[in-house]
């Protein structure tokens, strides 16, 4: 079960996400030659409070669904990459559908803090050429999953 602060997500097997990504990790990361840019940099993911985590994971997974995976589908890529993407996307859809980030006023400052982190990631993504950004973002799913594992309760 994932516990992103007040948000609970059950019936998602994190190992399945890892296995889907590991199947293509080396080939995707090898295509990313911009070693001096990291989208999910420490400032985005380090020391995220439980309260922030629900907002941040919701924004990140939505971005991966609507921008990274969606556009990756239009690229000419190997079948195994499309297979990996569909497994990841299906699980991200399940997770985001179950996340209910709170919208009360007293949570506004926490929401803003999480949003600033997300904007750091999004800005770094937009600064790159689209093809390079898509490859880099997909190659960083291991960083995303490593961070999400902190909120996973066995």
């Amino acid at each position: 079960e994932f516990r992103f602060g007040p948000c609970r997500v059950e019936n998602v097997i994190l190992l399945e996400l890892w296995e889907a990504f590991r199947a293509v990790k080396d080939s995707v990361q090898t295509q990313d030659n911009i070693t001096s840019v990291r989208l999910l940099k420490p400032e985005v993911l380090h020391d995220v409070s439980d309260a922030e985590s629900c907002y941040l994971v919701h924004s990140l997974l939505k971005f991966y669904l609507n921008t990274v995976f969606k556009n990756y589908h239009n690229k000419r890529v190997e079948f195994k990459i499309l297979k990996s993407i569909s497994t990841l996307a299906n699980n991200f859809i399940v997770i985001t559908s179950k996340l209910r980030p709170c919208v009360k006023n007293d949570m506004l400052s926490i929401y803003k803090s999480a949003h600033r982190r997300f904007l750091l990631f999004k800005r770094a993504f937009k600064q790159l050429d689209t093809e390079a950004a898509l490859t880099k973002a997909f190659g960083e799913v291991d960083i995303l999953l490593t961070w999400m594992e902190k909120f996973y309760h066995y």
């Binding site: 590991r22 070693t35 990291r38 993911l45 960083i143």
Partner: protein
């Protein structure tokens, strides 16, 4: 038409990691020149500057210990090896992106097998890594891999084995025949990270039963 030959004098630059001891290794290429020496640099993924690894500059060795330089579990790293022959730079090759959390393999656990009359006890000792916690203590594997557990097995005979598994470090197989030899083994698993160690194996004999002697 001549096929393009690989004229590199350097190949297979990669990290070998076991229990978070991270060693960079490489090979000389098909076109290597006698007297070639190598220099190693490393950096964090996302940073621009490459840092020279002290102790691995102009070396004839084909490996370099980067454990301390790559010890942050939330970071990913790259390493670069440059080959020089007397007076000139021959070749440079970069490793793949490296994360010790994802890439390290787990060595067999350190275990003490204790025979008794009708049971065998197996005590697993914690495996400490070079990774330091914020308070400075060395992290054990259990503190790093939250889903880590142990699987112990006792082979009674060719057709019969007993299994015990869990997160605890003490296991006891009971109801055994005195004065009999058994083969015990224990391995470490961390499924989330697809890690499984080779087993520690001990051959041990239960004690003779002297109660009626």
């Amino acid at each position: 038409f001549l096929a393009a030959e690989d004229t590199s004098s350097l190949q297979y630059v990669k990290f070998q990691s076991s229990n978070f001891e991270n060693i960079l290794t490489w090979d000389d290429g098909p076109e290597s020149i006698p007297g070639t020496v190598y220099s190693v640099e490393y950096k964090r993924y996302g940073e621009t500057e490459w840092l020279a690894k002290e102790g691995c500059q102009r070396t004839t060795q084909k490996s370099c210990n980067l454990t301390m330089e790559t010890s942050n579990l939330t970071e990913l790293y790259y390493a670069m090896v440059t080959a020089f022959s007397p007076g000139s730079l021959l070749d440079s090759k970069r490793s793949d992106r490296f994360s010790s959390l994802q890439h390290t393999t787990i060595k067999p656990p350190d275990v003490t097998c204790i025979p008794k009359v009708r049971s065998i006890q197996m005590l697993v000792h914690p495996t400490f890594t070079p990774i330091l916690a914020e308070d400075g203590h060395q992290l054990a594997l259990e503190e790093i891999f939250h889903d880590l557990f142990y699987r112990s097995e006792l082979r009674v005979n060719h057709t019969y084995q007993m299994y015990l598994e869990g997160k605890q470090r003490e296991y006891e197989f009971v109801g055994l025949t005195p004065d009999t030899e058994f083969l015990g083994s224990i391995k470490i698993l961390a499924p989330m990270w697809s890690k499984e160690s080779a087993p520690y194996v001990c051959r041990v004999k239960t004690l003779p039963d002297r109660t009626w002697a």
